[in-house]
C-alpha cells in the first residue's frame, strides 16, 4: 500500500519556468512533510520541509504548499535552472514510538530543466 502518492513521475521544464510536483497522503498521523533532492549516484539531501499547521513555506526559489483538508502538498521551484535537474522525493513522517519515527517516501519525480 503506497501511503504517499507522488506525481508526475517525470517532468521537463524550460529554464526560467516553474516546476510543480504534487504529493497526496491518506494517513492523518503524518506530522511532518520534507522534500528531498537527489542527484545521480548521490544520497538524497533535505531540501525543504513543512509542518501541517502551516499552509506555505518558502526558501529561496523553493516553496511548499500544504492543504491539510485535501491531504495534499506540493513543491514549487520558481525560475527553474539546469542545476535543479535531479530526482525529487516527497516524504511524510509518522512517530513510531520508543523515540523513533519513520519516513514514508513517494516514488520520486525526475526533473529535467532544459536551457
Amino acid at each position: 500500500q503506497q501511503q504517499v502518492k507522488q506525481s508526475p513521475q517525470s517532468l521537463i521544464v524550460q529554464k526560467g519556468g516553474i516546476s510543480i510536483i504534487n504529493c497526496a497522503y491518506e494517513n492523518t498521523a503524518f506530522d511532518y512533510f520534507p522534500w528531498y533532492q537527489q542527484f545521480p549516484g548521490k544520497g538524497p539531501a533535505l531540501l525543504i520541509a513543512i509542518r501541517p499547521d502551516v499552509s506555505e513555506k518558502k526558501e529561496g526559489r523553493f516553496t511548499i504548499s500544504f492543504n491539510k483538508s485535501a491531504k495534499q502538498f506540493s513543491l514549487h521551484i520558481m525560475d527553474s535552472q539546469p542545476g535543479d535537474s535531479a530526482t525529487y522525493f516527497c516524504a511524510a513522517k509518522e512517530y513510531s514510538g520508543a523515540g523513533s519515527y519513520q519516513l514514508t517516501f513517494g516514488k520520486g519525480t525526475k526533473l529535467s530543466v532544459i536551457p
Binding site: 549516484g41 533535505l46 523513533s100 517516501f105 520520486g108
Partner: protein
C-alpha cells in the same frame, strides 16, 4: 557538524556470496539509524532502523540483516546474496525523540549482484 559515511561506495558480488556494508556517523550521540534500499527508478524502501545499540527493527522480511555494535555504527549484512539484492543502499541518521523530524542520508553504496 554531523557527517555520515558509507563504504564501500560500489560493490560487485556474485550470487551466494556474503555482504557487509558499513555506516558510521560523526558529530552526534545516540542517533536513530536507518538502512534504505533504492531500486532503479523507484523510491526508497526502509529496510531496518535502530534506536540504540543492539536494537534493530526490521521492516521487510528478507535475507538481509542489520546490526548496531556501537552507538554510531550501523552494519547491513547478508549470508548469501540474491540477484534481487542489487540496488543502491542508503544509510540515514536522525535525532532521537518525539519532536525531531529530519533524516540525513549518506552517500550510498551501489551493489550489483551478478
Amino acid at each position: 557538524s554531523q557527517t555520515i559515511h558509507q563504504w564501500p561506495a560500489t560493490l560487485v558480488q556474485p550470487v551466494g556470496s556474503p555482504l557487509s556494508l558499513e555506516c558510521t556517523v560523526e558529530g552526534t550521540s545516540n542517533p536513530n539509524l536507518y538502512w534504505y534500499r533504492q531500486a532503479a527508478g523507484r523510491g526508497l524502501q526502509l529496510l531496518f532502523y535502530s534506536v540504540g545499540i543492539g536494537q534493530i527493527s526490521s521492516e521487510v522480511p528478507q535475507n538481509l540483516s542489520a546490526s548496531r555494535p556501537q552507538d554510531r555504527q550501523f552494519i547491513l549484512s547478508s549470508k548469501k546474496l540474491l540477484l534481487s539484492d542489487s540496488g543502491f543502499y542508503l544509510c540515514a541518521w536522525g535525532l532521537a525523540g518525539f519532536y525531531t523530524d529530519t533524516q540525513y542520508f549518506g552517500p550510498g553504496t551501489r551493489l550489483t549482484v551478478l
